[in-house]
């Protein structure tokens, strides 16, 4: 019931926005998003498993199941564990910021805009709280529609192409995800005699499938999830969509929508197909590492600020994937923490860029610079968020990047941590160059944008509605994000503690599987005349 209310508050706000008139739309939307935030905070305070020893859902999903098609075992089940509750909090925290950030930027079709924004938030929260495959998929897909319209109506000059690309990429992938999940459900029905689409049933059942089947299921799931993450080479929709979206859209896409892919990997991929994950983790990790370095190199030559930050998301999410595939609790904690910190830092950066764009109508690094003279407050927040994104110790980005890399580094066959892995120092080393490159391009951008002589576009006029520097409303939008970045950087452990039992539970089958994987590899290597040199080298 609590979670239903969480989903319904923004939906009812939509009705209010619809009937409240064009003028009041933003105020009503702000009120609704604050109410959602308040309710989510209440939920977070009630959540009993922050300090739990075990991995538990709250409220128990079976208790609030709402049957849709009993014959096929399809029922809507909602519940949160600590990871999904954290992601819900990320979403509701950014909602008011998005509304404030688009306060004056959206001039026409305002009501529709805020309705799409609220629906988008509802869908995203729905994904995080779903405990059955069908509602997960429903919210996952339904989130495309508001995203599509936000992008297509309010976006930049290439909005048409961007919106179609965004929708079709994700839709195509997730159809195969649905296929994979339905296949698992069918196998479950074959072997147990009961249809069920509950995630808990499927995740306990799926690992019993043969390694070959698991491989196919992994492929199907990744088809849907890797597009969202996004994993190289499926990332090409992202720079376009993030660049063309209106500010609130970019914030939502970068901060929350990208997390859907990674969250899906954590919910489905890791528990369902452990054998396939062990076999294919190095391959996926190679793609992630390529993404990290490749996107970082692209960032270096970008002149469009928004595009630069969009590509930096591709690079950064690669770290989170690595952390997830390290198959040890450190890496998984790091990965979850990365989702949160990337959400706050990049979301905040997009907000800042939006504020700049409203004043100057350009995002081109060649046309604009030295803003610290004219907009010191803006520059302060911008620099804080850039540092959070770079991974400066003391801010949140550092904790997450460090954990992911440590996790990857220790993911070697004979690890002393008790969690042998299939990655290893090489992956961490190459990925670390992405960190260095990240510092280079982000600081280069900051240097150009904030310091040096003041450069403004030639046809620039002072905006009549906006002050030179940030208004109170804009500070209210971006300051909380900066504060969170700082708090997370100084005190990461409450979150890490909350994630720990979950991480251990998810990773329980992995040490044994990794061992047996290497035993098999050894046996195969002894038989085969051609020894796999890379494997030997990593031992």
């Amino acid at each position: 019931m609590q979670l239903w209310i969480l989903l319904l508050i923004p939906l009812f706000t939509c009705v209010g926005v619809g009937f409240g008139g064009e003028r009041n739309a933003r105020a009503i939307a702000l009120g609704g998003s604050l109410a959602t935030l308040a309710w989510a905070v209440v939920l977070a305070m009630q959540f009993p498993h922050w300090q739990a020893e075990q991995w538990l859902y709250w409220p128990a999903p079976e208790a609030n199941a709402f049957p849709v098609i009993p014959g096929l075992g399809i029922a809507v089940e909602l519940g949160v564990d600590s990871v999904s509750l954290l992601l819900v909090l990320l979403n509701v925290f950014l909602m008011p910021c998005c509304v404030l950030g688009s306060w004056v930027a959206i001039k026409e079709r305002r009501r529709e805009f805020y309705i799409w924004l609220l629906v988008l938030s509802t869908c995203v929260m729905g994904v995080f709280v779903s405990r059955d495959v069908i509602s997960f998929y429903t919210f996952f897909e339904a989130s495309l529609v508001p995203g599509f319209f936000m992008l297509a109506i309010y976006g930049g000059p290439d909005r048409r192409e961007a919106s179609f690309k965004f929708f079709i990429y994700t839709f195509v992938g997730s159809l195969f995800m649905l296929l994979g999940l339905a296949y698992v459900a069918w196998q479950h029905a074959q072997q147990t005699g009961d249809w069920s689409f509950a995630i808990s049933d499927l995740t306990t059942f799926a690992p019993t499938l043969s390694a070959g089947e698991q491989g196919w299921i992994l492929l199907a799931l990744l088809a849907g999830l890797a597009v969202k993450v996004p994993l190289f080479p499926l990332h090409t929709w992202l720079p376009l969509a993030h660049n063309q979206a209106p500010t609130a859209g970019s914030v939502n896409f970068a901060a929350v929508i990208l997390k859907l892919g990674l969250y899906g990997m954590y919910v489905f991929v890791l528990p369902m197909v452990p054998e396939a994950v062990v076999t294919w983790a190095p391959t996926i990790a190679v793609l992630a590492v390529i993404g990290i370095v490749y996107a970082a190199l692209i960032c270096w030559v970008q002149t469009d600020v928004k595009k630069l930050i969009a590509y930096s998301s591709v690079s950064h999410m690669g770290f989170a994937v690595l952390g997830l595939l390290a198959l040890n609790p450190l890496g998984l904690q790091g990965s979850v923490f990365y989702m949160l910190s990337h959400g706050f830092a990049t979301g905040g950066l997009f907000l800042c860029i939006g504020m700049m764009y409203e004043r100057y109508h350009t995002k081109d690094l060649r046309e604009i610079g030295g803003l610290a003279f004219k907009m010191p407050v803006w520059s302060f927040f911008f620099i804080v968020l850039v540092f959070a994104s770079v991974g400066l110790p003391g801010l949140n980005g550092f904790v997450s990047e460090f954990l992911c890399l440590i996790g990857t580094f220790t993911a070697v066959p004979g690890a002393q941590t008790g969690y042998p892995g299939v990655l290893g120092p090489w992956f961490a080393a190459v990925a670390a160059t992405g960190m260095i490159l990240g510092a280079m391009y982000l600081l280069y951008m900051t240097g150009k944008l904030c310091f040096g002589p003041l450069r403004e576009p030639a046809d620039h006029h002072e905006h009549e509605e906006l002050p030179k520097d940030l208004s109170l409303r804009e500070i209210a939008a971006v300051a909380p994000i900066a504060v969170v970045c700082l708090v997370f950087g100084i005190m990461p452990w409450p979150i890490l503690h909350a994630v720990e039992p979950v991480a251990e539970a998810v990773l329980k089958p992995y040490p044994a599987l990794v061992e047996s994987h290497f035993e098999q590899m050894d046996a195969a290597a002894k038989v085969s005349l051609l020894t796999d040199t890379t494997l030997e080298g990593s031992r």
């Binding site: 069908i134 429903t138 897909e141 319209f149 839709f171 649905l178 339905a182």
Partner: protein, 542 residues
Amino acid sequence: MIEMSSKLILITPEILLLIGAVIVAVLGLSTHRRIRNAVPWTTVGFLVAAIVATQIVYDGSETVTNADLLLPNLGLYLKTMVGVIAIGLVLLGIGMVDRKYEEAIRDGRAGFDPLRVVRGEYHAFLLLSIAGTMLIANANDLIWLFLAIELSSLPTYVMVALGRGTRRNQEAAIKYFFLGAMSSATFLYGFALLYGASGTLSLTGMREVFAAQAASDGIPLFGLIGMVLAIVGLCFKITAVPMHFYAPDVYQGAPTPVTGFISFMPKVAGFTAIIMLCAAVGWSGHHIIDNAGVRVPTEGLPRPVHATLWVIAALTMILGNIGALLQTSIKRLLAYSSISHSGYMLVGVIAGTAEGIDAVFFYLVTYGVATVAVFGALCGLQRHGREVETLDDLSGLWKRHPGMAFVLALSAFSMLGLPPLLGFWGKLDLMIAGISAGETPLVVIMMATSAVSAYYYLHLAGLPIIRKPDARTEGVEVGPSPWPRIAAMVFGIGILIVPIGARTLMEKAEASTKNSWLEPVETTLNTGDARPEDHTPELPQA
């Protein structure tokens, strides 16, 4: 005699519709405009009466559930579904049929000439076609089946021709009629061969004969050829490859309400007929004899039939979706999209389990609701007094007609299968049935092609909302009557809220195949001892 009367009771709804057709045809010739205007409402009244009659007749009693039919309970579901959606389809035509002529009479530019009005004919033919479709549910005889199919399609040939005047319309009418006649010839020939192979016209009898044959030497070759020919002929009705070529031209050339009608009603007829024929051949108990002379049991339909359907389904999905990508005319786009929907439904037919057939019947509802909604929006709008033609005509629709833009988006997303809209549940059902029957490759094709369909449905859903209105779209205004728009709104809202009741609807669809040969107990490989009193079929008298 008892059998005769019980059969007649079961077709009360159809009898009502036939009476209605006669009355409506006469009313349409009245010189009073008011009576002529009452024609559509009389039609709706008879449809409601037919639906009510269906509920009364199908009371679940012994006579109904044990009737000598392959699917004795199908009638309730099929007739109710067809009736309800047909009401929507009637509403689409209000104010559209005879529009120019009625306006001329009203303005005093023309006198009333009974030869020139078609309103009565239109609605009479509509009722006849619906009656034919409903009759298929009661068919237990190849001749009955053939006549019912013809009754459902012959009126549609006339309806297409009713929008007389434009050359495109004439082309559509001719094409539709001649190709339709050819398809009838094809499946009639198939029926003849089936009769030859089984020696009986009764479908239930045929099923027993084929089951016995399958258990021994297999169904004779010309029986299988007959089956394949019948299916290929029926492909015309469901616009499946290789008989789909007419669809884009006919859909474009026909008046919009008629396009809505022919994109739903013949499909129901065709799918019900195909399912009945496949049921007669049997979905299980078949085997092939390999090179060593050993009998190897196979799953599903006999191999040649299965292969034919498989290829048809795959090609229909692929060609339909790819063809739609290139269209700018909305009606052509919808024609290709309806082709692809037939392909999806064929997956359920091939799966063939009770689940698969339920899924097909459920999908027909989801498809019908979306069809009424989208054609309602098209009928409710006009541009300078003409039909809305291309996608560009609709861009920027949200500004002047937000409701219609909303309905278009809803129905397009529903046809795309976007959760949580109605279409998604239909597709999910088909997908699960396909996977359960081991037809995973076909399901993969289905998913891949529906991914392709995202592109054109997104145009249909998106362009009216995302574009700014331009000079071209300024001319778009509402049609002469509000009823098509009301139908569009009602069915559009249905797309949104029916999923909440999807459970009941699916249970109804499930009930439609209960108590039939689909119950798995009956269909086993060794039918030898399962049928003690294996009465020998009557041989055809020479």
